[in-house]
């Protein structure tokens, strides 16, 4: 009888237990408060651009006076919107108020993750190549693997920075106040700012990033354009910008994007995929040096990922510097005792990984369907930048430094990978099993290590109080690849070294770009 009673209680309380625990997620990026920069960086128009010859290369016409009927009509447009804002409209105002650079960086990470999937093989065992001119056919363009992603993040960030430097120049020059300053009856839904509102920094970012993304992710144009429109609308209905602020900003952003698109078309990334004939040259070269060459461990064998990415145009140094001062020394010979010892070390990890090591391997795996290691470091940077209350232009400058460094790190790393063509641990000992997918390209050096050291070095310069944290994170990211049994210790250590060197070039630029 007593048991019966207990059972009744259990059965009756079950629905309560079920309903009391909500499954809703709390996502960190939705907790970010509205951006309130500690400094306007009002002189950022003097900062050194990356590609632009100067802030006036793409002129922005003087705005109409705030006393003109046209301007007053634009103010009234805001008021009309604000008279009847829906819940969804207020939500997009809040979303975008966290920062233009931040939100577009998140959108880019999402596009990378969406497209970070290796193509499935053809029936004859060859692999199809994504086609930028037919991006929606399978395999969709692009395959946003780590080098591709590093390049996407870098171009977006660099173009965005140049566009904002130009915007800041004209903001100071024309000094048009925000709509809520010219008309105190405009209701402003975001933090007020003394920053001149023409051209709108938000529209500059939407314009430049939207254009860059359409180049990099041409199959997602509708999605990108929808975000551009949403972003501009958010600023308008928030009372932060009048339409002419937005139009001028978007036009400037689009113009600057063209300069970077021209660079992208000529940076040799288009031919970085290589061919089996080119891969065979790397292989023969490796054999001629008396070393065991890398072979794809996939079935069917997949050509190595972006085998000519090491020849893509760098941002922070020239190709001669890369080869003479940054390229790591040759890895331990595959016939050396050191190599055998390092292989044994990885075999050991593969059979006796601890739960903590496995968690680290998975934390840093950043494999398929993720924003890749450069995306992971963008996320790390973004969360820390939020706390710094940077102005949009400083956000953009810091993101440009970070992402140019990581793209250059990718180029340095991919150069070494194919020059040395070193085999992966599971190729040398087929009992070695991995706890993340085995990357389909040569082992030396570790991409994670190179990306992470480059990122940690420049981020530690940007936020010195976090420098130790970033260094530790980079070391952990590096080690995670040994735990995962996909890299030798030399891959990781030399990767960190060359990544650090790349990071130093980014620091050198940071010291002289006028922002410090």
């Amino acid at each position: 009888m007593i048991n019966m009673k207990k059972l009744y209680i259990l059965l009756l309380s079950t629905p309560l237990i079920i309903n009391s625990c909500s499954k809703d997620l709390t996502e960190t990026n939705m907790q970010f408060a509205a951006l309130q920069p500690t400094s306007l960086d009002i002189n950022a128009g003097t900062w050194k651009p990356i590609l632009l010859t100067g802030p006036t290369e793409f002129p922005v016409a003087a705005p109409i006076a705030v006393t003109t009927p046209d301007y007053i009509a634009q103010i009234n447009e805001i008021k009309t919107w604000q008279a009847d804002l829906t819940k969804d409209e207020k939500a997009i105002v809040n979303y975008w108020s966290a920062g233009a650079v931040l939100r577009w960086n998140e959108i880019l990470r999402q596009l990378v993750a969406k497209h970070n999937l290796p193509p499935y093989q053809n029936p004859d065992g060859t692999y199809p190549v994504p086609n930028a001119n037919n991006p929606l056919a399978y395999p969709q363009f692009p395959f946003a693997n780590p080098p591709y992603a590093s390049r996407a993040y870098a171009y977006v960030a660099a173009a965005q920075y140049d566009a904002l430097v130009a915007a800041w120049y004209y903001k100071k020059l024309y000094n048009r106040p925000a709509p809520y300053v010219t008309d105190a009856t405009v209701n402003v839904l975001v933090p007020k700012s003394d920053l001149p509102s023409y051209p709108s920094e938000d529209a500059v970012v939407a314009g430049v990033v939207g254009e860059m993304m359409k180049l990099l992710f041409p199959g997602d144009q509708d999605f990108i354009q929808q975000k551009v429109e949403e972003h501009k609308k958010a600023r308008l209905i928030a009372g932060a910008n009048v339409r002419s602020d937005l139009d001028a900003g978007e036009a400037l952003g689009k113009a600057v994007a063209q300069k970077f698109i021209t660079r992208a078309r000529g940076d040799r990334a288009g031919t970085a995929g290589g061919s089996l004939a080119i891969q065979s040259l790397f292989e023969q070269d490796c054999i001629a040096r008396g070393e065991i060459p890398w072979y794809s461990q996939e079935n069917p064998k997949r050509p190595g990922m972006l085998m000519l990415f090491g020849r893509v145009k760098t941002w922070l140094f020239d190709s001669i510097t890369m080869v003479t001062t940054i390229r790591p020394p040759a890895p331990p010979s595959t016939s050396s005792q050191k190599f055998k010892d390092e292989l044994e070390e990885i075999r050991h990890f593969s059979t006796s990984i601890t739960p903590e090591q496995r968690a680290i391997a998975h934390f840093w795996a950043d494999g398929i369907s993720t924003p890749t290691p450069p995306g992971h470091w963008n996320a790390i940077a973004a969360e820390d930048f939020v706390k710094q209350n940077f102005s949009e232009v400083r956000w953009a400058r810091n993101m440009a430094l970070l992402n140019m460094a990581m793209m250059d790190a990718a180029i340095v790393c991919w150069d070494a990978k194919y020059v040395y063509f070193n085999p992966r641990p599971p190729q040398m000992n087929n009992t070695i099993k991995t706890v993340t997918g085995l990357p389909n390209f040569p082992s030396y050096t570790s991409g994670h290590s190179t990306f992470s050291a480059a990122a940690a070095t420049i981020l530690g310069h940007i936020i010195p109080s976090n420098a130790t944290k970033y260094t530790e994170m980079a070391k952990e990211a590096s080690l995670s690849r040994m735990y995962a049994a996909i890299h030798y210790r030399s891959d990781c250590e030399k990767g960190l070294e060359s990544g650090n060197k790349v990071g130093e070039y980014a620091k050198a630029r940071a010291r002289t770009d006028g922002a410090e």
Partner: protein, 312 residues
């Protein structure tokens, strides 16, 4: 993909088959009787459904799952039983480099209650309610499908069952709702159909339907089983992607079970089953078997005073 199958097999194997007094059949242990025994299960798949597309994966080959488990069932009264199951699961891929995983998976606990049992027509109808709870008791990861040994969620299940026996023949039908808790990954963001900046994954609930019928009399049970598992939400694996714990995993399986009591020692029984997957989505097309040996210990005072050889 492999992960997914492994996890599902591990989860479903327990609920579909196993000993004759289980959470999914219409049989109750008598008061003070305790049935316990080890089981071994093996299942494997070569083909799987990537969304609705059936494919193989040359870089996984065949994914196999071995399961060693202990299950037990105690009769608090003739109408109220408690059950438990605890499997150790081991996965292995025959091709590629992904490391197989192994470990103690989830502890399952059930309360099984038969409030209604009545002669209707020339047979007997019983209605049974089963409440279950399962949770991981080791720190395996669900974020390595298909190699993972489980999905990590804590599951609260509620099952309603009707059993009708006429002579030596019977049919049992049941439906289950499974409330699954969210799980936490070892990473700070993940992509489903959009980016999520959290380590927490929203796990869709699931529902299942089970029908079984066959011969059931003293000493022998032989039954055919159909089982359908439906995840109520989730998303499809995209082309050439890996599976993810919150995928929409659906599967329909058919199988055959038996339980045979040893004539020389009726407390001892052998159980076994075979099952195969006839349809699915985001799961492997697994086929497998289980075998188990169970022993009934009677704790009732009356029996204790008798000799050990007392018939139940």
């Amino acid at each position: 993909m492999k992960k997914l199958l492994a996890a599902l097999c591990a989860v479903l194997t327990i609920s579909i088959t196993a000993l004759s007094q289980t959470d999914i059949d219409g049989i109750m242990m008598e008061k003070n009787a305790f049935c316990i025994g080890p089981m071994f299960g093996y299942s494997s798949w070569k083909n799987y459904w990537e969304g609705t597309l059936k494919r193989e994966n040359l870089n996984l080959g065949t994914l196999s799952t071995q399961m060693y488990s202990v299950m037990g069932n105690y009769g608090i009264t003739n109408k109220l039983n408690v059950l438990f199951g605890l499997p150790y699961v081991k996965t292995k891929a025959s091709a590629g480099q992904l490391n197989g995983q192994e470990g103690v998976q989830d502890l399952s606990l059930w309360v099984k209650w038969k409030p209604f049992s009545k002669k209707i027509g020339s047979g007997r109808l019983s209605l049974i309610a089963i409440g279950g709870y399962s949770f991981p008791i080791s720190d395996y990861t669900a974020d390595f499908l298909p190699m993972s040994i489980g999905l990590e969620s804590k599951n609260l299940s509620l099952r309603g069952m009707a059993d009708y026996q006429r002579g030596s023949w019977f049919g049992t039908i049941s439906g289950t709702y499974v409330r699954r808790s969210n799980i936490e990954l070892d990473r700070t963001s993940y992509y489903t159909t959009e980016m999520h900046y959290t380590n927490e994954v929203k796990m869709p609930d699931a529902a299942s339907f089970n029908i079984r019928a066959g011969y059931r009399d003293k000493g022998l049970i032989a039954e055919a089983v159909f089982d359908h598992w439906n995840t109520l939400g989730g998303f499809d694996i995209t082309r050439n992607n890996m599976p993810f714990p919150s995928n929409e995993m659906d599967m329909s399986r058919i199988g055959f079970n038996f339980k045979y009591d040893m004539p020389f020692l009726p407390q001892l029984s052998l159980t076994g089953n075979v099952m195969t997957t006839i349809g699915g989505r985001n799961v492997g097309q697994a086929t497998g078997f289980n075998v188990g040996v169970f022993y009934v210990i009677d704790f009732s005072k009356k029996k204790k005073s008798d000799s050990d050889k007392s018939k139940k």
